[in-house]
């Protein structure tokens, strides 16, 4: 299949998905579907952030959920105290970007290796989890916002229009905004990759030594893309906080593992892949959850997710979706050739490599 046909199909698919998400679903008006859709969008934004910094920046962040959860908490706390959640949204994204900047400074200026980077980022997330998990008591109240320990903040406020703090948006509007936030983040990532900055980031992933010798301060570029990734993950956290509410599970090991799985399944080095991987795995989890009892407990989500991750890493080089797509393309190419042979006899020359 040629590249142009492939990208044309890609645009058609994106347009169809956008039509379905923004026209069909709201028209049907099923609130449960829309709330679920908002949750999916929040998680997909988180997946995008890792797709950007790992797939393109080569930065192995095993704790991407740190920014997701932190922004959620900042949003909830600021929203409860300020009343105006539009301001809280900006504060939350700024806070996760700032946190990424501080953490990134220590990691990139220390020139930590990939292995250390993965471990440190995951550890940061797990410590955040432990910290918020123990904030149950009265003393853990920031302004009017009790942190709530393991239970989180069930009273996480809903986004309000700018200047109208007393009119929280309806679930339909939250859903539309969530989908638009996902689309915005996707386009933002594509834009970042296409800029000179983004090209340099990819070059640094390919060969940091060469990039340095050409005059790029690799630490700055890595920090830059890490901060953008942190801000995007933060926006995902705010979306999630609006559709559920914030709790320490946003930081926990399972959440961090899931993001990795989405990206691996969807294919490292692409943007749409991890989003699709996220949707596919979330749908799989939901389906497994609905099977309760039928398969006598063997559908434990952790077991299934773990098996998927290990099998993908051990047996596939490319990720599940790219492998499936490539196999499908080969199949179509073979079928097309068969048809051509039947119609026109043997081809004179192979004009296209398989």
């Amino acid at each position: 299949m040629t590249g142009s046909l492939r990208s044309a199909l890609g645009y058609v698919a994106v347009a169809a998905a956008a039509y379905y998400a923004l026209v069909v679903v709201p028209r049907d008006g099923d609130i449960a579907v829309m709330i679920n859709g908002s949750i999916y969008a929040g998680y997909a934004i988180l997946a995008l952030s890792l797709a950007l910094i790992w797939g393109f920046g080569g930065i192995l962040s095993f704790g991407q959920a740190s920014f997701f959860g932190l922004a959620g908490y900042v949003y909830a706390i600021a929203g409860i105290n300020l009343g105006d959640t539009a301001v809280a949204l900006f504060l939350a994204v700024a806070a996760s970007a700032a946190f990424a900047a501080i953490l990134g400074y220590f990691m990139f200026w220390g020139r930590l290796s990939d292995v250390y980077l993965g471990v440190i980022t995951l550890t940061v997330s797990l410590i955040l989890f432990r910290f918020f998990n123990q904030t149950a008591g009265e003393e853990w109240t920031i302004g009017a916002a009790p942190l709530g320990g393991f239970n989180g903040i069930p009273s996480t406020p809903i986004l309000t229009p700018i200047g109208h703090p007393d009119q929280p948006l309806s679930p339909e509007n939250i859903y539309i905004l969530s989908v638009m936030a996902l689309a915005f983040c996707y386009l933002l990532c594509r834009f970042v990759i296409a800029t000179r900055f983004g090209r340099a980031v990819v070059a640094i992933r390919e060969n940091p030594v060469r990039a340095e010798l050409l005059g790029y301060d690799t630490r700055l570029y890595k920090l830059g893309v890490f901060v953008i990734g942190g801000a995007i993950a933060g926006l995902g956290g705010v979306v999630f906080a609006n559709s559920v509410f914030v709790s320490p599970t946003m930081f926990n090991l399972q959440t961090n593992g899931q993001v990795i799985i989405w990206v691996i399944v969807g294919g490292l080095g692409t943007l749409a892949g991890p989003v699709l991987g996220c949707f596919a795995m979330l749908a799989l989890s939901t389906w497994l959850g609905s099977l309760n009892g039928v398969a006598s407990g063997w559908t434990d989500p952790n077991l299934v997710m773990g098996a998927v991750l290990t099998v993908c890493v051990v047996t596939l080089r490319q990720g599940l979706l790219p492998t499936v797509v490539a196999a499908g393309e080969r199949l179509i190419a073979t079928l097309l050739r068969r048809i051509r042979i039947q119609k026109f006899g043997q081809p004179h020359a192979v004009d296209e490599p398989l």
Binding site: F106, V115, V124, I127, R130, L303, L309
Partner: protein
């Protein structure tokens, strides 16, 4: 005076605890340069093994010192055969694949024993120092840790096996030059690391209890101890456990245990900014 003594004992117990939960991870990291993301679950399974076999009527000490290491060592052998061996030289992929193993083990244990906390009360009672008390069992764990590290040092420094291991630690090719199959060294290392984790998990189970997700509470501390220490198994783990354990218990005393962990992490991050290769990447480079 009593207070100072009890603080000192607490610090020692914290350091020993850190060293103990990090030991198996350190063995695998020092020899193979990979981080076993399923480490926390190896500890967790060790704890469950000891608990379940004790509840089935087995002597507690046999369960801790024999059954748990053997069971977890066998699990390590299976993981090595099915996963690690296929990914030699691909460090990041190895981490990802063991992360999958970690999730799968949490799932399996949840299916087998349910998502509830189980535990046994620590044996040996407690000792009173003035107005304060400290569990004898915690001191006992400290003693076992000391013996484990001493034994590790003896093996590394004095035996043929230790020579091979030291060669592998310094340089992958060197072990091959000694006429040892590196694949065999790695397989043995992984199984040994798993067995040590099983023992550690069993040892601390009476203090902390067990629950399928408990691995996550260990790995944060174990990870930063090992990478702060660097690749020298004994010196790295001990020096990092000493430093981070002291910081942890100081802040735990002054504030809360969780803030102690936050301080421990902050200390490790700053440490790695200054010494990116860990403590033994800079100091005691020749140490074991």
């Amino acid at each position: 005076m009593d207070y100072a003594l009890i603080v000192l004992l607490q610090v020692i117990a914290t350091v020993a605890n850190l060293a103990m939960i990090s030991a198996g991870l350190a063995v695998i990291f020092g020899m193979m340069r990979i981080i076993n993301m399923a480490h926390g679950e190896f500890l967790m399974v060790g704890g469950y093994t000891a608990l379940v076999s004790h509840q089935a009527g087995l002597n507690l000490w046999v369960a801790i010192f024999l059954v748990a290491p053997i069971v977890v060592g066998l699990i390590g052998a299976v993981v090595e055969r099915l996963v690690i061996r296929r990914l030699y030289g691909r460090m990041i992929d190895t981490m990802l694949a063991t992360w999958g193993v970690s999730l799968a083990l949490v799932g399996l244990i949840t299916i087998a024993f349910g998502n509830t906390v189980a535990g046994i009360s620590p044996p040996l009672g407690s000792v009173e120092i003035g107005a304060y008390a400290i569990g004898c069992y915690e001191l006992f764990v400290g003693g076992v840790t000391a013996i484990l590290f001493l034994a590790g040092w003896l093996v590394l420094a004095r035996t043929q096996l230790g020579l091979i291991a030291r060669a592998a630690m310094q340089n992958r090719e060197m072990a091959a030059a000694l006429g040892v199959d590196p694949a065999k060294v790695y397989a043995t290392t992984f199984v040994l690391g798993a067995a040590i984790s099983g023992l550690a998990g069993a040892l601390i189970a009476p203090i902390t209890g067990v629950v399928p997700s408990i691995g996550a509470t260990y790995i944060a501390k174990a990870f930063i101890t090992v990478i702060s220490g660097g690749t020298s198994i004994l010196a790295g783990t001990l020096s990092a456990a000493g430093l981070l354990g002291a910081v942890n218990s100081m802040f735990s005393f002054l504030m809360t245990p969780v803030l102690g962990e936050v301080a421990l992490l902050a200390c490790a991050v700053v440490l790695l900014r200054l010494l990116p290769q860990g403590i033994t990447g800079r100091y005691f480079r020749r140490a074991l």
